[in-house]
C-alpha cells in the first residue's frame, strides 16, 4: 500500500486556503482544510463607534463587500429597531444582485471553466470548442466575462459611488435616491449584459431558459440543433459530465440558506423577520425536509482552530475570537467550525436553489445528488434568475420615484444592545452579530459563507463540508489531481487553487 500526503494550496479573496490530503492507494482518506491567513477584523472593530462597521466590514472581502455592508447595516438597524423605506430596500437589493452577478460570472468563467483547457482533456469531443471559449485572456467567453462583469458593477457605482468598497447603506436607508437617469442607465447596463448572456452563455432567451423546469427539458435543449456546443452552458455541461463531475464532490447533505433580498413590500417588519424574495431555510439532507431557519441554532467550534479554546460550540453572541497560534498542535486553521442544529452544513447557490424550491435544480438534485457539476450549474442558473429580478427591481423603483430613500433614525446614536444581520452573499450565508456597550462596539462576530464551507473538524471530530467532499475520492494522478481542482472550485473558493507536492510517504510539517 502506498500512502502519501499532498498539499493543495489555494488562493481566494478572503485569504489563503490550503488543503492537506492523505492518500492511500490513490484514495483520499483524510482531509484538512487550512485557512492560513489571519487578519483580525473582529478585534479591529472593538471599541469603535458602531457605524464604523459600515466602513470597516466591507474590507473583509473584495468580492462581496456589498453583502458585508448589507449585513453590517442590518445588524445596526436590528439593534436600533430602525425602519427603512421600500426604495432603500430596492436599491440595496439591486446592488446586492449586481455584485452577485459579477461574482458568479467571474467565478464561473475566470476561475472554474479554464480547467477544461487542461491537456488531460485533449481527447474529449468538445475540447477544441472549450478552448476557444474558455482559454484565459483569449477565449471568447473568458473575454466576455471580463468585460460584462466589469459593466454590471457600474450599477453599484450609480447608487453607491464605486465598487468595490463603498458605504452607501446606512441605518434608515441609503445615501441617494434613485432618479430616472440612474434607472435608464441601469437598464441599459442590464440590457447589454442580458443580451450577451442570452447569445453566449445560455444560447436562448432568458425567459425561455428559465422556463425549463425538468431535467429532460434541459438536456433536450442542449442536444437540439447542436445548441449545447455553441453555448457556454452547454460546453460547460458536456465537458463537466464527460469528465465525470456529476459523480463527484458531494460533501455534507445538509444545506443552509439565510434567504436573499428583503421584500420591499414588507418594510414594516424588522429584519431578521422581514420577508425575503428568496426564502430562508434548512434542508435536512437525511430526511429531505426543508425547515424554517432559526439563527439561535448556530454555533461555532474552535477545537481544531488557532483560537483560544472553549468547550463545545458557542452562538456568535457568546462568540470569542482570541488568536492562539499553535502550529505544532493538532489544531490546523484560522477558520472556526460553524454548525447548525449541531450539524455540518453547506451553503451557497445550490443550497439557496434547493431551499427556495427551484424546480430544475431540485429535479437534477433528486436524480444525481449535490455534485460538483450541479453546484456550479446552480450558480449560473442563479445569474439568469437575478438578471430577471434586477429588471423587476428597477421597475419597482421607477414606479415609486418620489418615495423616500431614507428615514432618518430617531436617535442620534445606535443604542446599546445587540443586533444581527443575515444576508446571502455570492458564496452563501453571511452573518454579522454585533453587541454595543457604552456607545461602542463590544463584540463583533462575522460568520462568512466560506467559514461554513471551509470549516475544519468540530469538537466532536466531524469534518467540515469541503473536507468531506474530498474524502473517499480516487485521484488519477496525485502529482496533478485535476479532479480535486474541479471539486474545490465548484465550491467557489473565490480564486484559483492548485496542487503542490510536498513529499511522499510521510507526514510533513507545514510550519516551522
Amino acid at each position: 500500500m502506498s500512502s502519501r500526503i499532498i498539499q493543495i494550496e489555494l488562493n481566494r479573496v478572503e485569504g489563503d486556503l490550503n488543503f492537506q490530503l492523505e492518500l492511500e492507494d490513490g484514495k483520499v482518506t483524510d482531509a484538512r482544510c487550512i485557512g492560513t491567513l489571519y487578519r483580525g477584523f473582529e478585534q479591529i472593530l472593538l471599541t469603535r463607534k458602531p457605524t464604523d462597521s459600515l466602513v470597516i466590514t466591507p474590507r473583509i472581502c473584495g468580492i462581496c463587500g456589498t453583502a458585508q455592508l448589507n449585513a453590517a447595516v442590518l445588524a445596526l438597524e436590528h439593534a436600533g429597531r430602525i425602519p427603512v423605506p421600500p426604495n432603500a430596500i430596492r436599491i440595496r437589493n439591486l446592488c446586492l444582485m449586481a455584485e452577485t452577478v459579477q461574482s458568479d460570472l467571474r467565478q464561473s468563467f475566470l476561475f472554474f471553466t479554464p480547467d477544461f483547457c487542461h491537456a488531460k482533456y485533449s481527447k474529449m469531443r468538445f475540447y477544441e470548442k472549450a478552448r476557444d471559449a474558455f482559454l484565459p485572456f483569449q477565449g471568447s467567453v473568458y473575454r466576455g466575462a471580463l468585460e460584462y462583469s466589469r459593466h454590471i458593477v457600474e450599477i453599484i457605482a450609480l447608487f453607491g459611488g464605486q465598487w468595490p468598497h463603498s458605504s452607501y447603506m446606512l441605518p434608515g436607508g441609503v445615501t441617494t435616491a434613485a432618479n430616472s437617469r440612474q434607472i435608464i442607465d441601469s437598464l441599459s447596463i442590464l440590457n447589454k449584459l442580458t443580451r450577451w448572456f442570452e447569445q453566449n452563455i445560455i444560447g436562448t432567451e432568458l425567459d425561455d431558459w428559465l422556463a425549463l423546469e425538468t431535467a429532460d427539458d434541459f438536456f433536450t435543449s442542449l442536444t437540439a440543433d447542436n445548441a449545447g456546443e455553441n453555448s457556454a452552458i452547454g460546453l460547460f455541461t458536456w465537458m463537466s459530465r464527460d469528465a465525470g463531475l456529476h459523480l463527484l464532490g458531494f460533501g455534507t447533505p445538509h444545506m443552509l440558506s439565510y434567504g436573499a433580498y428583503d421584500d420591499p413590500h414588507d418594510e414594516a417588519a424588522f429584519p431578521p423577520d422581514r420577508k425575503r424574495l428568496f426564502r430562508a431555510g434548512f434542508l435536512n439532507g437525511e430526511t429531505g425536509e426543508v425547515m424554517a431557519f432559526d439563527q439561535t441554532e448556530i454555533t461555532e467550534h474552535v477545537r481544531y482552530s488557532w483560537f483560544q479554546q472553549y468547550a463545545g460550540g458557542r452562538h456568535p453572541f457568546q462568540g470569542q475570537t482570541v488568536p492562539d497560534y499553535q502550529p505544532h498542535s493538532d489544531r490546523y486553521t484560522w477558520c472556526k467550525a460553524p454548525r447548525y442544529q449541531d450539524k455540518v452544513v453547506q451553503t451557497g447557490p445550490l443550497a439557496d436553489a434547493l431551499i427556495g424550491g427551484e424546480p430544475l435544480i431540485r429535479e437534477l438534485y433528486q436524480a444525481e445528488g449535490g455534485n460538483a457539476w450541479l453546484r456550479q450549474f446552480a450558480r449560473l442558473r442563479r445569474t439568469a434568475r437575478l438578471l430577471k429580478t434586477m429588471r423587476e427591481t428597477l421597475q419597482g423603483l421607477s414606479s415609486d420615484l418620489n418615495g423616500p430613500h431614507i428615514i432618518p433614525p430617531a436617535g442620534k446614536d445606535i443604542p446599546d444592545g445587540e443586533g444581527l444581520g443575515l444576508v446571502t452573499a455570492a458564496r452563501g450565508a453571511l452573518g454579522h452579530w454585533l453587541q454595543i456597550s457604552d456607545g461602542a462596539i463590544s463584540r463583533y462576530q462575522v460568520v462568512t459563507p466560506t467559514a461554513w464551507n471551509a470549516s475544519p473538524k468540530d469538537s466532536k471530530g466531524r469534518h467540515g463540508h469541503w473536507e468531506s467532499s474530498l474524502i473517499g475520492l480516487t485521484v488519477d494522478n496525485p502529482d496533478d489531481p485535476v479532479e480535486i481542482g474541479h471539486i474545490i472550485r465548484s465550491h467557489d473558493p473565490c480564486l484559483v487553487c492548485t496542487v503542490h507536492m510536498l513529499d511522499t510517504g510521510k507526514r510533513i510539517s507545514l510550519w516551522p
Binding site: 488562493n11 489563503d16 489571519y38 473584495g62 484565459p136 496533478d480 496542487v499
Partner: protein, 313 residues
C-alpha cells in the same frame, strides 16, 4: 515584453477585483497592447501552483527577469515578528516579498494596505502589519526608507482602498511603455495624487457656499459635519470616475481618506472633528483665520438654489 508577478499578502482581494474593473486601459489591453506578461496573478493564473514555485526560484536565481513586482495586501509581521500569520509554503510571505523585491526592476504597492499598512494595521493592529516601505506615515516598512529597486526607485505606492482601477493600469502602462513615473512625498505617482478628491465633486458648489448637511442621505456638502475628507485627500475619484460612472462623494458617501497613510482614522468615521464651528483639518494648505472669514462671507453670498439644495447631485 514586461514581466509582472502579483502576490497577495494580508488582503481582501479588493485591488484584484478593482483592477478587473479598469477600463482605460483594461487589464486585457495591458496584455494585448502593452506587452505585459502576467507571470502570476492569484485570481487569473490558470497554471498550477507549483508553477509559481518554479517562477519564484527562477527569479531568485536570476534565470528569469522580473520587471514589475506587484504586492496587494498588508505586510503581516506577526506573531512575534515571524510573519507566520501569513505563510506561503512553510515560510512567511514577508520574507518571500523581501527576496523578490531585490530582483524586481520596479516594486508596486497595489492599495493602501501594501503601501502603508491599511485597515489591518488599525488599532490594535492584531497581526502587526506594515506597508512595504512605510509604517502608516512613517518612512520605513518591510523595506527601509532608503531602499531602491533595480531601476533606482522606491516602492511605487498606488494607494486607495481599493486602489483606483485606472490608476493601477495606467501606472503599469507607463512602466511598460518606459514613461517616467514621478512620485510625491509618500511615493505615490503624482499623475494620480496631485488633485483633491473634492475637485470635481458634484457637491462642490455646496461646499463653496458653506451649505452643509447635518445628516447623511442629503444633497449638501459632507465636509463640515459628516466626516468627509475630500478637501484633505489626494486622489482622482472625481476626475476619473469609478467604474466610469460616479464616486463615493457624488453618491453621498463621505470620503474616508482611503489613499492616506492614516486610513482608517481612529475615530468616528462619519463625524468631522471640529474646534467650535470649524473643522480641525481644513482643506489642504488653507489658513484657519482666512478660512473662517471666507466661509462666513460665502454663506452670506449663497444663492437660493444652493441654500435650498435645489440642485441634483
Amino acid at each position: 515584453m514586461t514581466t509582472l508577478l502579483w502576490l497577495q499578502t494580508g488582503s481582501c482581494g479588493g485591488d484584484t477585483m478593482a483592477i478587473l474593473c479598469a477600463d482605460s486601459p483594461s487589464l486585457e489591453e495591458l496584455v494585448d497592447v502593452y506587452g505585459v506578461e502576467i507571470l502570476w496573478q492569484p485570481s487569473l493564473s490558470a497554471l498550477p501552483m507549483n508553477r509559481l514555485d518554479e517562477l519564484i526560484a527562477a527569479i531568485i536565481e536570476d534565470r528569469l527577469a522580473l520587471d514589475v513586482l506587484c504586492v496587494e495586501g498588508s505586510i503581516i509581521t506577526g506573531p512575534n515578528g515571524s510573519g507566520m500569520y501569513d505563510p506561503y509554503g512553510g515560510r512567511s510571505k514577508m520574507s518571500l516579498i523581501m527576496q523578490l523585491a531585490e530582483k524586481a526592476q520596479y516594486v508596486v504597492a497595489m492599495g493602501t494596505c501594501a503601501a502603508y499598512g491599511g485597515v489591518h494595521a488599525a488599532p490594535p493592529n492584531p497581526t502587526d502589519c506594515l506597508g512595504l516601505q512605510f509604517d502608516k506615515e512613517l518612512p520605513g516598512g518591510l523595506l527601509a526608507a532608503e531602499w531602491r529597486s533595480r531601476k533606482e526607485l522606491p516602492v511605487i505606492n498606488i494607494s486607495g482602498c481599493p486602489a483606483h482601477p485606472n490608476a493601477m493600469t495606467k501606472t503599469l502602462a507607463m512602466l511598460a511603455a518606459g514613461l517616467p513615473v514621478e512620485l510625491d512625498h509618500l511615493n505615490r505617482p503624482k499623475a494620480f495624487f496631485n488633485t483633491m478628491v473634492h475637485q470635481g465633486c458634484t457637491r462642490n458648489e455646496y461646499h463653496e457656499y458653506d451649505v452643509e448637511d447635518n445628516a447623511l442621505g442629503g444633497k449638501g456638502c459632507m465636509f463640515f459635519n459628516l466626516g468627509c475628507q475630500g478637501p484633505v485627500t489626494v486622489a482622482i475619484c472625481n476626475t476619473e470616475l469609478w467604474n466610469g460612472r460616479s464616486s463615493k462623494t457624488r453618491a453621498g458617501v463621505p470620503c474616508f481618506g482611503c489613499t492616506s497613510p492614516s486610513f482608517p482614522l481612529d475615530h468616528d468615521l462619519f463625524l468631522t472633528e471640529k474646534i467650535g464651528p470649524i473643522p480641525v483639518n481644513l482643506p489642504l494648505g488653507v489658513e484657519r483665520a482666512n478660512y473662517m472669514a471666507y466661509k462666513s462671507l460665502a454663506h452670506e453670498a449663497a444663492p437660493e438654489r444652493v441654500l435650498n439644495k435645489m440642485m441634483d447631485i
